[in-house]
């Protein structure tokens, strides 16, 4: 594709299906699959299926499920997919690494040796799965220098919480937990660091960013004390600026008796380049559903891979997959273990997808992917800077950013009244995924934080930036057009009031009926905007 084609904005309009909620679809008695009756001999011997269910567990009423044929179900989800940009567009999202989820990995994770395994079956009957988990653990050890990984945490925040309970168990074992009750973090570390620390009972001490685009070492020194339990930090954080003093930071915290946790949410810019353990960190976390190519968001459950040093390993939640001379097994007998974060040993299909990604990429591939993602971000930095109304955060910092950069639409907002929300809404009109604004708190006005990653082509990035440039022009020429966007979407602006109103929100159909009445009887359909 030529540059010209890449930046030619496509004509786009989302299909409007006015698609009902699935619970409003279907007709009594309609089925997608009709299962054969069991053989008479079998019924005579063991009874019907319902006889096999203990009385206490059997439900008295049939569940309220939509009754539909298979093509009707497929069509319903096709419509929903078409109405929501389909998850295969250019999505630079913001503060999140978006990667293509290879279909071959999906196919692997759906094989019977994965889907038919139960975590309570004997270890020797699932050696293959345990081997894959163990080998992936070894791969992550190689990338981080840590001594043991577990995959129990169901996401990044869950892994941060895992770190909190390991930290707690470690200080408790040394009789210092009462005194060491403070976690130091930064205002731009992922908010889950502060949140999980507070949830685990720690006091949170937050550092602000300074001239260099990260907190100063003097601020860190002012925060460190004999009460310090740990430092939870991202490097780079969402500003995209690498803190070159990080080794000294770790040394200072260790000197005071605290632990250091590297939140690798932004690993893409440094993968293959640095190893957390070599920088002195005691533990780190990877998000398999971002960096390691497993699906994110609606694509399936997440996994926060948590790894730590040998010193902390005894405190890890159990079970841990281990290898001994008899093969692979789940080690439940860990006396110092902090307990459980979730059941069993994690979202195994996601672990396998990430393992497939790791094997395909290899060491050199990971190294190159990191280079590409940094190069792509700096290419974008160069081009975005030319768009009117956009400014780069920390303009005084001239060194290159890593895999992402926090940008501001503060100028555009002042000039035109169109800020990050309005621009994001308008993006959908051009068929690209709206960016996600950025984590709170917004210390940069009207922020957005695109992350190109290694996967999107130069043409994709050019198209995306052409959309942003066009919207900037629109904002200066016809701000109302941008403020009232989206115009080419299924629905116009979503009223978010309902999300904050317990009287309106409904996450189940039953709750919807309770709060909004039976839509089918009144003839009105649930409003998609709510």
């Amino acid at each position: 594709m030529s540059d010209n084609q890449a930046t030619h904005l496509r004509q786009y309009h989302a299909p409007v299906w006015d698609e009902p909620v699935v619970m409003q679809l279907g007709y009594p008695g309609r089925r997608g699959q009709v299962f054969p009756q069991p053989a008479r001999a079998a019924v005579e011997k063991v009874g019907t299926a319902s006889c096999l269910i203990p009385k206490g567990l059997a439900r008295t009423n049939a569940p309220a499920l939509p009754e539909m044929s298979e093509p009707e179900v497929q069509r319903h989800y096709l419509h929903l997919c078409q109405e929501t940009l389909g998850m295969l567009n250019i999505s630079l999202f913001g503060t999140c690494t978006m990667k293509y989820n290879a279909r071959v990995s999906e196919a692997i994770a759906q094989r019977p040796f994965v889907t038919d395994v139960h975590p309570l079956q004997p270890d020797d009957s699932m050696q293959g799965i345990l081997q894959a988990i163990h080998e992936f653990d070894l791969g992550l050890r190689a990338l981080s220098g840590m001594d043991q990984f577990i995959f129990q945490a169901g996401g990044g925040a869950d892994a941060a919480y895992t770190n909190c309970v390991v930290t707690r168990a470690y200080h408790k074992s040394r009789g210092e937990l009462k005194r060491r009750n403070e976690i130091i973090t930064s205002i731009q570390a992922h908010p889950c660091n502060a949140a999980t620390a507070a949830a685990a009972g720690f006091k949170v001490v937050t550092l602000n960013l300074e001239e260099d685009g990260y907190p100063s070492i003097e601020a860190l020194k002012a925060a460190i004390s004999e009460r310090t339990a740990a430092l939870f930090i991202n490097n780079p954080d969402d500003m995209g600026i690498y803190n070159p003093d990080i080794k000294e930071w770790v040394r200072l915290v260790h000197e005071a008796g605290g632990l250091c946790f590297y939140d690798h949410a932004n690993f893409n810019g440094v993968m293959g380049k640095i190893r957390a353990r070599e920088l002195g960190f005691d533990a780190c976390m990877f998000m398999l559903h971002k960096t390691f190519g497993a699906p994110k968001g609606g694509g399936g459950p997440a996994v926060g891979a948590y790894g730590c040093s040998a010193e902390l390993a005894p405190f890890l939640p159990k079970p841990v997959v281990v290898k001994d001379d008899k093969g692979y097994r789940l080690d439940y007998g860990r006396k110092k273990s902090a307990g459980k974060i979730r059941e069993f040993f994690g979202n195994v299909p996601q672990v396998l997808k990430a393992y497939a990604w790791l094997l395909v990429m290899g060491r050199d591939g990971i190294d190159e992917a990191s280079d590409i993602s940094v190069l792509a971000n700096n290419y974008m930095d160069h081009k975005l800077a030319k768009i009117r109304g956009l400014t780069r955060s920390n303009p005084q910092v001239t060194k290159h950013r890593l895999e992402m950069t926090r940008w501001s639409l503060g100028t555009l907002k002042t000039d035109t009244g169109c800020g990050t929300v309005e621009v994001s809404n308008r993006m959908a009109d051009y068929g690209v995924d709206p960016w996600w604004m950025s984590h709170e708190p917004w210390i940069v006005p009207e922020p957005f934080t695109p992350e190109a990653g290694e996967m999107y082509s130069k043409e994709d990035l050019d198209y995306w930036m052409a959309v942003v440039a066009r919207i900037s022009e629109e904002a200066y020429a016809t701000p109302e057009l941008v403020k009232s966007a989206p115009h080419n979407q299924v629905i116009a602006q979503i009223k978010s009031d309902a999300l904050n109103d317990p009287a309106k929100w409904a996450v189940t159909w039953r709750a919807y009926l309770r709060k909004h009445g039976d839509g089918s009887k009144s003839g009105s359909k649930p409003h998609a905007a709510e």
Binding site: A194, A222, G417, P441
Partner: protein, 375 residues
């Protein structure tokens, strides 16, 4: 739906003294004009009004007459009801008061004014914390936290308020009204005072450069932090609880009522002196440990030297750095332009001693490390 009732007051001479070095225009507009000062207020008001966009249809404007509002509204193409007439071409604080009184009687949803600290103070004297106000920044001195960051931001905020169909859901926050005595300032003596807390609309994403966690949670966090400070008080120490809404939460936690704008002295959980001056603090601190709980002035970030001069260099020295607790909401800290706190006690050596990194209490289990700088 009832139209949004917007009061509009322009101080036509506000800001004139700035460029000609008069440090304010209170009572000096003639002098400013003679020095060649040009009015700036009306043009800035127009910039704000031009941002109302489609919200215009939902607004009913109640303006002070002539140059005090109606003229700017007219130039912006907005119809308005004139609620007062300035007594003469040379408008005064009295004219502002007459206009605000008329508005306060007309169930106004918001008084939008163009001016500086002096105007804010005149308006606050009548609206108190009952009628919401919002400043279009046009003055010379703007230490109060009632101003939008720019005329455009003020216009955007009004438009955003009009767009909220259920007015009961609009959010407000108590914001400092500060003013400096201009005569003293011209003589070189700065004595800014905290006059009170006006009710200022707050729409996350629009007014402030910092979008922060839920406002309600911020308040709850401060209350909980104050309860913790109260619970951990040293029974033998004298506590000087500085002015401001954040610090007074500690008194609330002790179930004693203090003076919002002054420093109150507490010992053993009891009020020892309300609204104490420096002498009283030093006298009562004799023979016991003195501790200070102090807040942060919103918008500018002063910890000492603004609105709390009774916490003098002598008082601060007596307590010592380790006996000072700063309490403020995370929202207030992150909204500070350069994320710095300031000390300006009038004693440079002390200011330098106080400079450096401090922990500010933002919640019961949360501190934020802030850099404090000396002048």
């Amino acid at each position: 739906m009832r139209p949004f009732r917007l009061g509009l007051i322009v101080n036509p001479v506000a800001g004139m003294g700035g460029r000609v070095g008069l440090k304010g225009t209170d009572g000096l507009s003639d002098a400013a004009r003679k020095l060649g000062a040009e009015p700036v207020s009306e043009a800035r008001t127009l910039r704000a009004l031009q941002r109302l966009g489609s919200a215009r249809a939902g607004i009913a404007i109640f303006a002070a007459g002539g140059a005090m509002g109606a003229s700017a509204a007219g130039q912006a193409g907005l119809l308005c009801q004139v609620v007062s007439t300035p007594s003469s071409d040379e408008t005064s604080a009295a004219d502002t008061s007459v206009a605000v009184r008329a508005m306060a009687g007309a169930e106004i949803d918001l008084v939008l004014f163009a001016g500086g600290d002096g105007t804010a103070r005149d308006i606050y004297a009548i609206t108190g914390d009952r009628v919401p106000i919002l400043g279009i920044p046009t003055g010379v001195k703007m230490q109060s936290a009632v101003f939008a960051t720019s005329p455009e931001a003020a216009g955007d905020l009004v438009a955003a308020m009009v767009a909220v169909p259920d007015r009961s859901r609009l959010q407000y926050r108590p914001s400092e009204v500060m003013d400096i005595d201009e005569d003293e300032l011209r003589r070189g003596a700065i004595s800014p005072r905290l006059f009170g807390y006006a009710k200022v609309p707050f729409v996350p994403l629009l007014l402030q450069n910092a979008k922060v966690r839920n406002h309600g949670l911020d308040e709850a966090a401060l209350d909980a932090a104050a309860r913790q400070i109260a619970a951990q008080m040293d029974a033998n120490a004298l506590y000087a609880i500085g002015p401001g809404r954040s610090t007074k939460r500690v008194l609330n936690a002790l179930n004693i009522s203090g003076s919002l704008l002054g420093t109150d002295l507490v010992a053993g959980g009891q009020m020892v002196a309300r609204d104490a001056n420096e002498r009283t603090i030093l006298d009562l601190a004799q023979g016991r440990k003195l501790r200070i709980v102090v807040g942060v002035i919103g918008g500018q970030g002063h910890v000492f030297g603004r609105g709390n001069q009774e916490l003098s260099p002598a008082v601060i020295r007596l307590a010592g750095r380790d006996a000072i607790t700063i309490i403020a909401s995370e929202q207030k800290l992150l909204a500070l332009e350069d994320k710095r706190l300031l000390v300006d006690t009038g004693d440079l050596a002390l200011d330098r001693d106080l400079a450096g990194y401090w922990r500010v209490v933002v919640g019961p289990q949360e501190d934020m490390v802030m850099k404090v700088t000396a002048p």
